[in-house]
Subunit: 182 residues, 2 copies
């Protein structure tokens, strides 16, 4: 019955190739490869259980805190974008004595969560709204849950659309293969 508020938001780092324009290549990321290895277990990332959540945490041999450029390299999100996210209130960071951003594991986890939401197609405004509800305390849980369910529906719709598109593209590919040999 305690405030569930923040929960283990250290969930994992997605591919960060948010714009689907590029062929999803980006500076090789350590966390990404961790995620890959988890996904490879059965190929399709089943509903996240605690074990997977734990598996996706940062490895122990990473430094306790990271600078912005390290986070950028790890996550594939540019430093510019990380600062932008902070400016608009999407993430918060501690600062060192010199005023520089300092990221610990929890911060990295929050960035990961935000990135997953963004990757799922949730607009920044939606992510902001969710995070504000979390900050506002436990009596916003209903609304948070509603938001999550809505986003879940959006994800499912996108999956359906993508599967349709995949079918169309595959149809074209196999047709080309059948007629001109590829």
């Amino acid at each position: 019955m305690t405030a569930v508020s923040t929960l283990p938001e250290t969930v994992g780092i997605p591919s960060a190739g948010i714009s689907s324009a590029e062929p999803h290549v980006h500076p090789a990321s350590r966390l990404r490869s961790i995620l890959d290895s988890v996904a490879a277990e059965d190929g399709s990332l089943p509903p996240l259980n605690d074990e997977l959540v734990r598996a996706m945490r940062l490895p122990d041999d990473l430094p306790e805190t990271l600078g912005i450029s390290e986070v950028a390299e790890i996550t594939g999100i540019t430093a510019h974008t990380l600062r932008y996210y902070e400016r608009i209130g999407l993430v918060e960071t501690d600062r060192d004595a010199a005023g520089r951003r300092v990221y610990d594991r929890d911060a990295l986890g929050r960035i990961a969560f935000v990135t997953w939401l963004r990757l799922s197609g949730m607009p920044i405004a939606g992510v902001s709204r969710y995070l504000e509800l979390v900050k506002a305390g436990p009596d916003t849980q209903d609304e948070r849950l509603a938001l999550l369910l809505e986003q879940r529906a959006a994800i499912v719709a996108q999956l359906r659309d993508l599967q349709g598109a995949l079918a169309v593209v595959d149809y074209k590919i196999t047709t080309y293969g059948g007629t001109c040999g590829a």
Copy 2:
């Protein structure tokens, strides 16, 4: 060995809710419901076969030709956007004596194909490129195939990302459900 060029590009009309910001609702579309019924057969739109392609063609009781506003209603794409697509060379249309756009089934099919590609995340420039290659003739097939394969990889990557996001969101949802009963 004839020019494969255009092929049966009458493949179906997707949801047209391209921007994933909205919860994928749009004016109820007749073609969409056809697609839905096809998809419902086994839930996941398997690789398109000829039967499905035929099933997704326009029903026989639609008028032989359509005006732009009818196409807009059917596809869920606004007339403005249809004109925009034409302006940038993405689709071509016939005109009637008064200069108005006239769409037949093939035109609708081409719009559908374009929409599927757009839905798959291919930028407009990529769709343009593909269509130009098709127009350029059969000796561009290698490049077309390469484009399709590249897009296929992008789709698969997106599917992976979406599944990851779905897992994260589901994890959150079930966690909320477990602690505050939803």
